[in-house]
Symmetry: C2
Subunit: 97 residues, 2 copies
């Protein structure tokens, strides 16, 4: 599922329910494949995990990577019972220096 | 506790264990007291809540407020058993346009 999403829009890693290190690995892979910038996206409770992923990547693995931009926003989602919910989102752009 | 922290360093709202709306109210109060900028700070799992607070403040209550800057980082904390833990942190600066 996640793999497909990443192929559809390259350079983007969507944070879901996997362990943090799975996304760290996805980021490292994309950065080492020649992408100079990657975008980490998350919604709701996984926002904290997106920050963890970005921090682990740049502090532990890709030392020349830095945070280029961070954008926060709100997305409207429809819940199972048809109600509209506002969910916060984050987009962290990591790039090589 | 939170009140004391806010007095020690004005313009800063630390996200802790209270409901989101408690922090939204703290932000609105500080912005209406004449502060042109406020900083929302959070660590670990509360990072998502910090984004929620910023989004609710600027979308629902202080329409002329916008995100001026976002910084993420890592803080080292000592756990109860003496181990060092890395915890991600976020700092969101909200300001009036």
């Amino acid at each position: 599922m996640d793999q497909t999403k990443q192929k559809n829009k390259t350079n983007t890693v969507y944070i879901g329910k996997k362990p943090t290190m799975a996304y760290v690995l996805a980021c490292i892979t994309q950065l080492s494949e020649g992408n100079s910038e990657i975008t980490i996206r998350a919604r709701g409770r996984t926002i904290s995990q997106a920050v963890d992923v970005a921090e682990v990547v740049r502090n532990k693995f890709v030392k020349d990577a830095s945070v280029k931009n961070i954008v926060i926003g709100t997305e409207e989602l429809e819940s199972k019972d048809g109600q509209m919910l506002n969910v916060s989102s984050i987009e962290i752009v990591l790039g090589r220096k």
